[in-house]
Symmetry: C2
Subunit: 310 residues, 2 copies
């Protein structure tokens, strides 16, 4: 019997411009590592959190890694006590799926520890318990790509219908993140309650175009489809320098650029690593110019999702 | 020099459930035939309309086949007089792209007559003049499949961005049309001015899912994606027996069923001719049971769009 298990879960970009609440993709790195191990005492305990950022809740029921473990133990680990160690590679509240990565890594690790042999769909159910704490609602557009890897369409939520979407070779992503925190829960409050029909038509056209572009290796179509008329207009003002950062990405040759998740990070998709790095370089300069502390990541869109590392 | 040209343009299904205002596909038949010929007198004249239905405007500026010819002559046929003969194979106001077929057939025939050598994009511009008369706005989700053939995504309207979408082999369509007329212009008035964000997410998920299903030959995904939460709920009450007709299609094994265009026709997509015919049979019985006069068509989704026949 195993006594401990460690899983890595990558950062992910959700919303993907025209895919508001329904699309996401995984990065290769950075990511979170979560270790779960049997302890002598019943119940779930957060043993340690290694994080460069603000402190995370040590009450497992309020922790995005703790909640999935509590739920999974209830169903599959009767009597066991488990302690959790969290190694946060992702900044919290930056919009690249930090809570999803912790929740998925915890669920994947716990599945391994308990030898529960759950399917990704079943693991997702437990990871949702963690994401619910962070966003106050059920969203799987970070969880699903983090768990499955690659690019994922969430066709529907009732029931949850995950469609992995094949992507062209050579699709690279740049993340430019000014070091301010935007809470998902707050970023959702400013969303419009309803959307003018004209904008709905624009958004559905672009969402459908993005999927068509990905599945037919049509980079130009991907670029033309990366427009968000729903969330970006209301969320962009929360992000210092958003329009300059977006302009810099396009100037550097990115296919498109928008807000990653609920921000403040921006993602840009590019047709090569070289372009993605140039995007990062120009966006970094913009943030320096604005005297913003910042992180810039360049990663391919990763085929591999969360996985056991130990 | 040619003295006359005749084009055939097929029926088409627009909206396609989750593709409201952005998707459409062509049928093999029925369709409209439009002949244009040089006449001795300047200007455009409707010489004859052969139609089983209600009379069409004989003023070419108010006729969906006349307006494209007027516009094309203005740009490419200075001085010529042209007369138009329209052979309506499509019922007017039934929701299977009758006005689009007349407009496209007229534009394609006129392009041939004038030897103008226009691209499909340029022909579309003239056909739009005809559709504008019928719907009071610019919509190309019938025009584009009618002209290009196959399944078409209208990614955007500014500028118009037509994306032909490859479809699986063996996709068949059943059209069940109760013989009542719904004017597009009226069916648009009852649409909601805005859509709750929750429904927008559902609709974009299904539109993206439909494209993914088509491009990956995933019939089950196509079926799960054929849901419309925007137009169908408000337009279904205009169609006698709508819910019984839809239930009959699904009972017969259709992948999905919704309103064709703005109705009253329903379309159903099926994975074989046999199922499509069974759908037509069951839906025909429902309409007979309701004592509705009706037409039922079964056609493959046609790769070929409008074309010159003489």
């Amino acid at each position: 019997m195993k006594t401990s298990a460690t899983a890595f879960a990558p950062a992910s970009v959700s919303n993907v411009a025209s895919g508001f609440d329904i699309m996401g993709f995984a990065l290769e790195s950075p990511g979170d590592r979560v270790t779960v191990r049997f302890s002598g005492t019943p119940g779930v305990r957060i043993a340690a959190v290694h994080s460069a950022g603000s402190p995370l809740p040590m009450d497992p029921a309020l922790n995005t890694a703790g909640a999935p473990v509590i739920a999974m133990l209830k169903d599959h680990g009767s009597g066991h006590g488990v302690e959790i160690e969290i190694d946060k590679g992702l900044p919290v509240g930056s919009g690249i799926g930090s809570s999803a990565a912790s929740a998925v890594a915890a669920a994947v690790a716990c599945n391994e520890l308990l030898q529960a042999d759950l399917t990704p769909q079943e693991i997702l159910k437990y990871a949702i318990e963690g994401e619910r704490i962070a966003s106050g609602a059920i969203h799987v557009d970070n969880l699903a790509p983090c768990l499955w890897g690659g690019f994922v369409l969430v066709r529907g939520y009732d029931p949850i219908d995950i469609i992995p979407v094949r992507i062209p070779m050579g699709l690279w992503c740049t993340i430019a993140s000014p070091l301010i925190e935007i809470k998902t829960i707050e970023a959702r409050k400013i969303l419009p309650a309803s959307v003018p029909l004209r904008d709905v038509i624009t958004q559905t056209g672009n969402a459908a175009g993005l999927i068509a572009g990905l599945l037919t290796d049509d980079f130009a179509l991907i670029g033309r489809s990366l427009h968000d008329v729903i969330a970006e207009p209301v969320r962009a003002p929360l992000i210092p320098g958003f329009h300059r950062l977006k302009a810099a990405a396009l100037e550097a040759g990115a296919l498109g650029c928008s807000i990653s998740g609920s921000g403040p990070a921006l993602f840009a998709l590019s047709a090569s690593r070289e372009i993605a790095e140039r995007v990062g370089c120009l966006q970094g300069r913009v943030l320096d110019d604005l005297h913003m502390e910042r992180t810039v990541y360049v990663s391919c869109v990763a085929h591999r999702g969360a996985h056991i590392v130990e």
